[in-house]
């Protein structure tokens, strides 16, 4: 029922229900309920006027700002670390002390080139730095050093799982600004320059995306590649990756683009999706009412899932771009690029292919593992301890990640369950000392404790969950069962009853209170009866 008429899927009517359900499941809690209310509200108006949203498609381009994982900042030797004490990582140049000059950090260039190579882009051997001027308290120099006219990287593409290729226009290096906090102390704005001057790579896509889901997929895929190549932590919640989303709408089938609005600094994949959905509805509502869409810069209000205006076209800033006279053109050699290409870490799709090929994982499982941050590291560490790859992959992508996702502070990086612990559970499973059900209980117990210490064997014996596999004990058990049920033994020997094995198994299980290892019991019975 929920908003059946409101769907933006590029895949068309057949997927309606699925898309809406997917949208609801991936949210949790109050936010989702509120969104659903908003959606329902819009849906009711939409139903009244027919499928008006269906007639339009969104045209989306995204600019991603990713913080490079360099040791120091782009133009100063101050350390580039997240969340240190305020104003503890500020070099003279970051604070724009008079007379200081920018000094380019080669590591940042290497990371940006690596990012370019990961998307099959052209690396421009000659690029230049420009100043982008605007006035704000968290930008001490009064300008940001960026690469407006001659970026380091041109072209490239990102292949999405839905088969679409999103073209990348360019990538360039630029400085991040500091952080400002208004109102934390009454009457004051607080400025923290730790982040000021940190290296960013800005990745600009062509407006190739046609739905909010596609845009979300693009962001997730990009995030994943940046993470796996070690270019960026790509953690949108922490701010190491941010998106500016450009949305325009047009009637399906039209060739011309509608008026574009930009939603700045969206810091979550689900927020990207919601921002686009809101903008689509807003634009369509305006157009259907005969009102022109104004070109605006907006920001996303996460608490209300709406976008709000930030600047109108009249308020647009003139950045007065000019080549930065303190920095000569950046010239890199083919050898420099080749060395980085040779050292390029495995891309997520390559890793997934390898898992399928060498470890015989199912494709979905392999993709699940490479898509989750730190999952492939965790998985490969677990594999070193010997368990079966397919079993390990299934347990990580289903059971363990189930716990991690349900936990607000859960993460595979410093997981409540260590790789050794998980391996011990898998080992007991493989030797059949425990059943699947018991294994899940043990894992839950481990996660609950969160001390990364107790191995499966200890927990199983402490809780009395381990199955008995000792042959002497099993034999004794079987013999006891057989003694108590002589008639059944006779009917089996005479061949008149085929269900005797099942009966004996049942009895043995009952007698052992489910503690006997089933296969061992079966084997034992087979021996004894014959």
């Amino acid at each position: 029922m929920l908003a059946r008429t409101y769907v933006l899927g590029a895949r068309g009517h057949a997927c309606r229900g699925t898309l809406v359900r997917a949208a609801v499941r991936s949210d949790a809690g109050v936010g989702a309920r509120h969104t659903n209310r908003v959606l329902r509200a819009h849906a009711s108006t939409a139903t009244a006027s027919g499928d008006k949203y269906e007639q339009y498609e969104a045209v989306i381009g995204i600019e991603v700002h990713a913080q490079l994982k360099s040791q120091t900042k782009l133009f100063s030797p101050a350390r580039a670390i997240f969340a240190e004490a305020a104003n503890s990582q500020v070099h003279l140049h970051d604070a724009a002390i008079p007379g200081t000059l920018p000094l380019l950090n080669a590591e940042c260039v290497k990371l940006a080139v690596r990012a370019g190579l990961a998307f099959g882009s052209t690396i421009n051997l000659r690029s230049c730095f420009d100043r982008k001027h605007y006035f704000y308290a968290d930008l001490p120099q009064g300008y940001q050093i960026t690469q407006q006219y001659h970026p380091l990287v041109s072209d490239g593409k990102l292949a999405l799982e839905n088969g679409k290729d999103v073209r990348i226009l360019r990538m360039h290096l630029e400085q991040d600004s500091g952080k400002s906090m208004h109102g934390a102390v009454p009457g004051l704005s607080l400025i923290d320059l730790n982040r000021c001057g940190t290296a960013l790579v800005e990745i600009v896509s062509h407006p190739d995306m046609r739905s909010s889901e596609e845009a979300a997929l693009y962001v997730r895929t990009l995030q994943n590649i940046l993470f796996h190549t070690g270019v960026c932590d790509a953690n949108m919640e922490e701010g190491s990756m941010r998106c500016d989303v450009n949305v325009s709408v047009r009637k399906r089938g039209e060739q011309e683009f509608g008026t574009r609005c930009e939603v700045k600094n969206v810091n979550g994949v689900r927020f990207v999706r919601k921002a686009i959905e809101f903008e689509l509805r807003r634009h369509v509502d305006l157009l259907e009412a005969g009102i022109r869409v104004d070109q605006e810069t907006r920001s996303f209000d996460a608490s209300r899932s709406i976008t709000v205006p930030l600047r109108t076209k009249e308020m647009e800033v003139d950045y007065r771009y000019m080549p930065d006279p303190d920095l000569p053109p950046l010239v890199i050699t083919e050898d420099f690029v080749r060395a980085i290409r040779d050292d390029l870490p495995e891309l997520p799709t390559e890793k997934a292919d390898r898992y399928v090929r060498e470890l015989k994982l199912k494709r979905e499982t392999a993709l699940a593992i490479v898509s989750e941050r730190y999952a492939s590291d965790y998985f490969e560490k677990v594999l070193e301890l010997g368990p079966d790859p397919v079993l390990a992959a299934n347990w990580i992508s289903n059971e363990l990640l189930g716990h991690v996702h349900a936990d607000i502070v859960g993460s595979l990086r410093e997981c409540a369950v260590s790789e050794e612990q998980l391996a011990s559970v898998l080992h007991m499973l493989q030797t059949k000392e425990i059943s699947g059900k018991i294994a899940k209980q043990i894992l839950a117990e481990m996660y609950e404790r969160g001390d990364r210490r107790g191995l499966a064997q200890e927990i199983a014996s402490a809780k009395g969950w381990a199955l008995v596999t000792d042959s002497a004990q099993i034999r004794a058990l079987c013999q006891q069962v057989m003694e108590e049920h002589q008639e059944q033994v006779e009917s089996h020997r005479r061949g008149t009853s085929k269900r005797v094995m099942k009966f004996f198994m049942g009895q043995a299980m009952k007698k052992s209170e489910g503690k006997a290892q089933p296969d061992t019991v079966r084997q034992c019975f087979e021996e004894l009866l014959d």
Partner: protein, 242 residues
């Protein structure tokens, strides 16, 4: 000498207040031996000096005490020079007569009954050198800011090619044109100071790598030809100049 010449207003921070001069008597036998050992050199107030206020003749920086030395200043100190004060200038080097200063204008030592401008923006440096208040001085030349006051004050002003001297620590005016430059009474003195401050600096990406600098040998028996653009021959030029 500076006290007698104080009316020229050449200094923002005069020798009487310069820490190096105060220490000079104590350090006379300190054992530093460089090519400029013990020689008093004035520095234009646009260069950052660690132990002296640097204001670029502006009220905006009247309380700016840099925590570092400009590279050219560091090199002077490294050769044993005594930084004897910070000289007056046009505010942020924006001027050609040294009349736009928070500290007041600089008078040319050649002023008589009529007060004459010293030229700028490195007017304080030129006036200090011309009135024997220091051996030589650092200035900065963007569009003539050392050559003009040198000419007005009758001394030698030398602007090296852009990239010869490090701008690290020089408060920027036009970053693609600013050059640290030298003023002195004799050409030989200028060369002595220039040889100390010149050269590539890791802190300034626009300095030319040493291997890229060609110096042509001149002097000796080969005559020098000096070119003067014919456009300089303007009506206002005085007869003796022409």
């Amino acid at each position: 000498q500076s006290k007698r010449m104080a009316h020229l207003n050449a200094y923002i921070l005069p020798p009487s207040e310069a820490p190096a001069m105060q220490r000079e008597k104590a350090n006379r036998n300190a054992g530093i031996s460089g090519s400029l050992d013990g020689i008093p050199i004035a520095v234009k107030d646009g260069f950052c000096t660690r132990d002296m206020r640097t204001s670029a003749a502006s009220a905006m920086l009247k309380d700016f005490y840099p925590c570092y030395d400009a590279t050219v200043v560091e090199r002077l100190r490294g050769a044993g020079a005594l930084i004897c004060g910070k000289t007056n200038m046009d505010e942020f080097a924006m001027g050609a007569f040294n009349t736009h200063s928070n500290h007041g204008p600089v008078l040319s030592p050649w002023s008589d009954a009529e007060e004459r401008v010293s030229g700028g923006s490195s007017g304080g440096s030129a006036a200090a050198v011309a009135s024997y208040q220091c051996y030589a001085a650092l200035g900065s030349d963007t569009g003539g800011s050392v050559r003009i006051p040198a000419a007005y004050c009758g001394i030698v002003g030398f602007k090296p090619s852009y990239g010869m001297c490090s701008r690290f620590g020089l408060i920027a005016y036009a970053s693609s044109l600013d050059c640290p430059a030298v003023l002195a009474r004799e050409v030989g003195d200028v060369k002595e100071v220039f040889d100390v401050i010149r050269g590539e600096d890791v802190n300034d990406p626009t300095t030319a790598p040493s291997e890229d600098v060609e110096t042509s040998a001149c002097g000796g028996d080969r005559p020098i030809r000096v070119g003067i653009p014919s456009e300089y021959n303007v009506e206002e030029l005085s007869g003796e100049m022409r």
